[in-house]
Symmetry: C3
Subunit: 418 residues, 3 copies
């Protein structure tokens, strides 16, 4: 019943980063639900304009006061250590330690989330309240981490369809103990993959679980040809908070996926925003060289909620109900994508006589029958090869499903062809 929320809770304690064992363990757990093909990209590999960094692993970290009490303890929350901190083992006064301490002065009870992937440094994140209680020291400071040649890891799950054309669902999996950003996205994607596998599909669906930025860049670098097969895609993030859905359009702005999301969201509270080159991995998919039709589906977007990138983004912040709603949006969008074809009317001169084919109820009356008949007339009228069923649904104001059912009936009757 709360399958997605259970996955969020299980993944939450792991210390993920853009490389390392926490990331690998996360992919293993996802792999229990949906088989993942794992890729390991060695440190130093050139990927597009970037280079795979060293692999980072951490076992323990703390700041101990003179009584031996851990004032700040990695074991309590992995947010306490700045991601990619180099090893430290020293005794320091507060004054010496202070430049390495990060707090949120405006929200004294919360621990911030910080990383420093590409500049070698170290640091601790703690609450302003903890900092306020700290005397002049000295303190025992220790970060038991390693930064060494290794690999960057990502995982893929593919559901083959009748067509080699792909729909991409991409989730970043590099954030440590943060629930909405992005364990909720991971949980929704995992559930979505299982739902989609239940029936035969037109499109091939590719789920990519990769560290943000460098992960999607690595995938793109190693799959340049495959990228060209992506016909539609979404980046799934912040999928579990209580806010309404936000869909950020692809760079193209009017890609089919953009129109489909607008269509399935139109009768519910939602926000549509134009593309901007900031956010999640749509930045990479929508770089001008690739310009893929990939948008970003979230509930409240990044930095749009006060819990963002703090210890308050914990499993209680996300709900199964919200994740189900995000899942439902994806399912409905993909249903439209699957059925959105463009037909050609084979009897385009005048209306074909529907009555003698049993497609026109002379008595009519029931409103769903009338809607179905209107949908047939619309499909016949617009099917000149230039209008998709989504176009027809939008122009006619009829629900997409009714239009698609009408097209199916006309296809069976031999009045239209694909």
């Amino acid at each position: 019943m709360s399958e997605m929320h259970a996955l969020v809770r299980r993944l939450y304690p792991l210390c993920r980063s853009i490389t390392g064992s926490g990331l690998r363990r996360t992919l293993e757990i996802i792999g229990e639900s949906i088989p993942l093909e794992i890729s390991e990209v060695p440190t130093g590999t050139q990927v597009l304009d970037w280079t795979i960094p060293k692999e980072w692993n951490i076992r323990d970290a703390y700041i101990k006061d003179s009584s031996g009490t851990r004032i700040v303890d990695f074991a309590a929350s992995n947010l306490h250590v700045v991601g990619y901190s180099v090893p430290v083992s020293a005794t320091m006064t507060l004054e010496e330690l202070r430049p390495h301490l990060h707090t949120l002065p405006g929200r004294p009870g919360l621990v911030p989330y910080r990383t420093s992937y590409y500049a070698e440094t170290w640091g601790f994140c703690l609450s302003e309240e903890t900092l306020a209680g700290m005397g002049p020291g000295p303190y025992e400071v220790r970060i038991d981490s390693t930064l060494a040649d290794g690999h960057l890891t990502y995982g893929e799950h593919v559901i083959p369809g009748r067509s080699a054309e792909e729909v991409l669902v991409s989730c970043h999996v590099c954030h440590p103990s943060l629930a909405n950003d992005n364990l909720a996205g991971v949980a929704v994607a995992t559930r979505l993959a299982r739902l989609l596998a239940r029936e035969e599909r037109h499109y091939t669906y590719r789920f990519l679980f990769a560290p943000g930025t460098i992960g999607s860049i690595a995938w793109l670098a190693r799959n340049r040809d495959r990228a060209g097969r992506i016909r539609h895609g979404i980046v799934l993030a912040c999928a579990g908070d209580r806010g309404p859905i936000t869909y950020k359009r692809s760079r193209r702005g009017d890609a089919e996926i953009d129109r489909v999301l607008a269509h399935v969201l139109r009768d519910r509270p939602h926000t549509l925003v134009d593309f901007s080159p900031y956010g999640y991995d749509e930045r990479q998919y929508c770089s001008p060289g690739f310009d893929l039709p990939v948008g970003c589906l979230t509930r409240t977007p990044y930095a749009g909620y006060p819990e963002y990138h703090t210890s308050a983004d914990d499993p209680d912040f996300v709900t199964e109900e919200a994740m189900l709603d995000t899942l439902d949006t994806c399912v409905r969008a993909f249903e439209v994508l699957e059925r959105n074809r463009t037909y050609v009317n084979l009897s385009p001169y005048g209306e074909p006589q529907l009555g003698r084919r049993g497609l026109y109820e002379s008595l009519g009356g029931r409103s769903d029958t009338k809607q179905a008949q209107m949908a047939m007339l619309w499909v016949l009228n617009q099917s000149d090869g230039a209008h998709s069923l989504l176009d027809i649904s939008e122009r006619s104001g009829l629900p997409f499903d009714v239009v698609a059912d009408a097209a199916q009936a006309l296809l069976v009757a031999g009045l239209v062809k694909e």
Copy 2:
């Protein structure tokens, strides 16, 4: 003075259908005002996806009670018989008869209009009040009709213009005693044809009086080449009720006829609606194979008034004033079509000196003179071969006639050419 209304009253009692003698007699009466070329298409002829049905004729029909009184009588109103009813002669109880009786429960005093062209059946239409007064029977039930091989009839009136390009005015003539739908349209079209004939025209005008759907389909099937000459067209229907004008755009949506109607209607109450593949014969003209620039001009559109397809749509429901207003709209639209040319400025570098050609009043002052001069400057500035006079009128905000007069003055002065 009320010439159109008189025609409505004269045609009203005839029992029209999509074939038969009532239809023929209607065309004869129209032909007294404007000569019609009559076409007879034999039963069984394949026309596009359809087949011409048997011809239906009816002489009498009634339901008599045991006292011999005609409870329901075709002679009182031809709406009482379901169109295309097969012959019946039987004695039946009310219970047996009931499935063949059609009423309007919500409007107990009115008789509905029903047909069954393509499913062989029979029936009577009556008021709910009449039905309520009927005892268990038995009743003598008789429909003296014939459904036999014959012809479908339609009539055309053509006003030749300087150009072989055509403007089509199409009216359905298949409804029996219903005044607004479509005797008012027939009356307006007939008067319009006489008005247009008074002076030489650029376009050739074709008036088509044909039964709905199957009639326009038959015409299109037999005039595929001619259809290609139709540059503009309107389907004229519901032309006499007291509501404001509604213009439904052609499938193209931005055809010249669509822009012209929007232009002539803009300063008066009206409604513009987008094309939909339901309504009158624009459905056929705008099928994707033909995709003709034909819109539909009505006052209140079909099904938009409570009298629609009932005995309340009688001659008192339509007014001469409303028909004159519909006529005026057509006349003004066709005036714009006639004058809407695209010119080329022969002196396009800088403004030509209008003063030395007597085209620029140095003193100015009168506002119509100023408007005329502004119109000349606009025509000169925009006449690069890509902007019609209607474009110029819309861009400048000047009345079309003023712009067209300015173009004429510039043409005479040799400053523009067509």
Copy 3:
């Protein structure tokens, strides 16, 4: 401090017309600030559809009453004589004189401005109050003018740029003692030319001071090839009244100059109006044969203020502050034009790693740094050769300068090329 206003006051008393010594003297005075190349076009020269008229010069003019008092005196204001009046020397009663007298009955204290360039006549302009005080006469009436073969004069100032492509600034200089129309425009243009010369420019800037209509037509006739080099242009007029700026778009409507002006004006009170073929010399530049991207920049447009074309349009009507604001608008618009380039991202697959190039501050924080980084991401994302920096500024909502600075930084880093 009030350099522009001083120029207005100095030029104000001169009796300018479309030809003659007042026009020449005006160009001489402008030439003291910015060197002008003077062109003299002989009477009778065919220029496009027009012919250069005779040159008009005037020395004196008056209406004297019987006591010898000058009731109306050219020496007091050159507006008193209808421009291009032929010589007169006569004694006339008021009744005889009356058809030659022009007043503004609605504004009894003001003297109107009138001309009659192309119809040979003569006349005086005076206030309604003066007229009311005039007895039956007789009056000594004298206009000491000459209308003879001569020349039409215009002046040009060119600031060469790296490119032969030109930006045109055009001012009419044919109005006598009228300050806003157009001495303020002349003063702003003169100051603008000096400002632009201070640094190297991409574009070549051409300033044209010419009589209205016939002057720009003469220039166009003699510079057909050069006209083709004009990439952007503005007609500068009514540049000194206290109203907000109005920009009238070029005929094209979406020329770069049109978008640039809309951009620099967007955060301040202003009005944008579409092109119309009436106003100032944009009428000639935007005639369909040339169709140059030239708009018209004014404060309150012609005929939009009650002082227009009357003696109330005097130096007190215009302010240095308003002229400085007009100047600032021009400067900012030309800055955008100068910097508005289209770049190509040389690393278009994924985002380039800005951090290792020192272009990405890992700590961030300062809002101008964040804006600069967003601008770099936008420039990289949109620089596919189809989007200019102005496009990017408008799509991103970032200030143009920030976007242009970001592009410059990326250019230096070798990440984009022009």
